[in-house]
Amino acid sequence: MTAVRENGKQARRQAAMAVLAHSDAAGIASRLEAIAVPVYENLREPENGLVMVRGRIGGDGAPFNLGEATVSRAAVRLSSGEVGFGYTLGRDRQKARMIALCDALVQSDEFADAVESKVIAPLRTQMISERSRTAAETAATRVDFYTLVRGEG
C-alpha cells in the first residue's frame, strides 16, 4: 500500500518536473505568488555547474560525449520536513530554487493540490498550447519530398 502511494507521488513529481523545467522563471514566479508558501530553508544554495551531455548515434549506437551543458540546481526543505530538488538547464538560479520549492510542495499533503491546480496545471496548459502552435506553424511550411523511381531502360 505504501509502495503504491510512493509510486504515485513519484509519478506526480516527475510530471511536475517535466512541466517546470520547460517553463520560464517569470511564469513560475507569478503563479507561485498565488500560494501561501510555507517557511522553508535552503538545504543546498542554488548553484551553477556543468553536466556532460551524452548521445548515441542514431539513438541506439555507441554512446559518446556530445558536450557540456550549463545547469543550475538547488534543494530546499520545508518546515514540515519535505525536501525538494530542482535541476534546470541554464544559469537561472532562482528558477532552480523555485522548481525545488514546487517539488517540495508537491510532496506535502497540505499543499499538493494547491500547487497542482494553481501552478503546474496552468503552466502545463501554456506549454502544450505553445508546443502545438509551433507544431502547427512548422506543419504549414512542410514540404514532402518524393523519391522518384528512375525508369529503367
Binding site: 530553508e41 535552503n42 538545504l43 543546498r44 544554495e45 548553484e47 526543505r77 520536513g81 519535505e82 525536501v83
Partner: protein, 202 residues
C-alpha cells in the same frame, strides 16, 4: 538511519563563506600556532564541530578521498552529509586519503597509516583535521619554523598527549610529511609539516 529530510544544511552563503573559511585556513597555515576564527555559518552534523564542518564544505570535493575515524563514521549522518554537500568519497583505506577527520583524537591511529606523499609529489599527503578540546587554554607549546618569527607559543588542551612526539617524523621525512589542522569549536590552529614543536620549558 538519517534521511535527507534530517540533514543539516550547507553554507548559508556559499561563495563568501567558502572564501572567508579558505582565508582562515590559509592564514593558519602561513602562521603556524596562531589561532584563527572561522566565522562562516553552516549546518553542522552532531559529531562535528563548527570549524570542521566549514573546512569540509570549503576544501572537500569529489577529488579528495576522506577517511573518518570511528567517532565520525559511527552514524551514517556524517557520511551522508559529506556525500550530499561535498561529493567527497569516504574511503576505508587511510593510506590514500587526502583528508582524515579525527573526531575523537584519543583514538588517533599511528601516523604511518596515513599518506606522506612521495619525494616527487609531497603534496599527495594526508591533511589531518583533529578536533581538540581547547586551543586557548592548557599546557604551553613552543613552535619554531617557517612563518614564525623566533618562537611562537600556543596553549592548547590536545589529545593524544604524545601528538608532538609523533609529529617528529616530519623532521626526518621532509619534504614528505603530515600537515595537521587542530579544530576547537570555531577556532583553528594549523601545524604544517615544517613546524617544530616542543613542550614549553622543555
Amino acid at each position: 538511519m538519517t534521511t535527507v529530510a534530517e540533514l543539516p544544511a550547507g553554507f548559508a552563503d556559499k561563495v563568501l563563506s567558502a572564501q572567508s573559511t579558505f582565508r582562515s585556513v590559509m592564514d593558519a597555515m602561513a602562521r603556524p600556532g596562531s589561532v584563527q576564527r572561522i566565522e562562516a555559518a553552516a549546518g553542522v552534523p552532531a559529531a562535528m564541530m563548527r570549524g570542521t564542518a566549514a573546512i569540509a564544505l570549503t576544501l572537500f570535493d569529489h577529488d579528495t578521498p576522506l577517511w573518518l575515524d570511528p567517532s565520525m563514521s559511527g552514524t551514517s549522518e556524517v557520511t551522508k552529509w559529506f556525500k550530499f554537500h561535498t561529493g567527497a568519497p569516504v574511503i576505508a583505506d587511510s593510506s590514500i586519503c587526502s583528508f582524515a577527520l579525527i573526531g575523537d583524537a584519543r583514538s588517533l591511529p599511528g601516523l604511518d597509516r596515513f599518506a606522506f606523499g612521495s619525494n616527487e609529489y609531497p603534496d599527495r599527503s594526508t591533511t589531518l583535521i583533529l578536533q581538540v578540546e581547547s586551543l586557548t587554554q592548557g599546557p604551553g607549546i613552543e613552535l619554531r619554523g617557517p612563518g614564525i618569527d623566533g618562537v611562537a607559543v600556543m596553549q592548547a588542551a590536545i589529545q593524544p598527549a604524545d601528538l608532538f612526539e609523533r609529529l617528529k617524523i616530519n623532521q626526518t621525512l621532509f619534504p614528505r610529511g603530515i600537515d595537521v589542522v587542530l579544530v576547537a569549536d570555531d577556532t583553528i590552529v594549523a601545524i604544517p609539516r615544517t613546524t617544530r614543536l616542543a613542550a614549553k620549558g622543555g
